[in-house]
Amino acid sequence: DVKVTQSSRYLVKRTGEKVFLECVQDMDHENMFWYRQDPGLGLRLIYFSYDVKMKEKGDIPEGYSVSREKKERFSLILESASTNQTSMYLCASSLWVDRGRSGPQHFGDGTRLSIL
C-alpha cells in the first residue's frame, strides 16, 4: 500500500517566518504534488514535480517554492509566511504510466498550518 507521509499534522508559525513542509512517499513514484485545501474552494494545486530537481508551477504558486532533491521527498517552502496562507496543505504522489497518463494520486494526511 502506498504511503505518503507528511512531517506534521499541525503547525503554528508567525508572520514573516520561513516555513518548511515535508512530504515523503515510499513507492518510487515519479510525480509529486502540493495542494492547499480550503472550504468552498476545493483543492488548488500549488506546485508539482515530475522528477528529481524538476518542478512546475500549479495554479497558485505565489508565495511558495518547492524542492525535490530526492525522488521520495518533496518539500514546500513558504518564503515569508502570511496569515492568508493559513490552510490545510496536502501532499500527493502518483506513478508515471506513459505519455499523457499517470496512475491515481495518493494523498498524505495533511498538515494544518496556522500563521499568526
Binding site: G40, L43, R44, F48, G100, P104
Partner: protein, 111 residues
C-alpha cells in the same frame, strides 16, 4: 484552460434514498475524470475513475461528453457514505499527471 464545477456545496439525503452528486467540466481535449472522497478524519482517497467503468461501494459515474458532465450516483445511500466528495479532471493534452479539482460537495446521509 480546464475547469471543474460542483454546483452543490452541501447535499443532504435520507438513508435508502438515491443520491446524485453533480460534476460539470470544461476542457477542449480528451479528459480523464475522477471522483475522490474524504471521510471524516481520514485522508483523501480515490473513489473511482471513468476509464475503469466500475462500481465502487455502490457508486457509479458515467462520462457524458455531450453534456460535459461526470455525475456520481448511488441508488440507495448509506450513513457511511457521509463524506466530502471531490470531482477532478486530468487533461491528457496538457500535463497528464496534474489534476484540477472541483470545490467539493459535503454529503450527509441522515438515518
Amino acid at each position: 484552460a480546464q475547469r471543474v464545477t460542483q454546483p452543490e456545496k452541501l447535499l443532504s439525503v435520507f438513508k435508502g434514498a438515491p443520491v446524485e452528486l453533480k460534476c460539470n467540466y470544461s476542457y477542449s481535449g480528451s479528459p480523464e475524470l475522477f471522483w475522490y472522497v474524504q471521510y471524516s478524519r481520514q485522508r483523501l482517497q480515490l473513489l473511482l475513475r471513468h476509464i475503469s467503468r466500475e462500481s465502487i461501494k455502490g457508486f457509479t459515474a458515467d462520462l457524458n461528453k455531450g453534456e460535459t458532465s461526470f455525475h456520481l450516483k448511488k441508488p440507495f445511500a448509506q450513513e457511511e457514505d457521509s463524506a466530502m466528495y471531490y470531482c477532478a479532471l486530468s487533461g491528457l493534452e496538457t500535463s497528464g499527471s496534474r489534476l484540477t479539482f472541483g470545490e467539493g460537495t459535503q454529503l450527509t446521509v441522515n438515518p
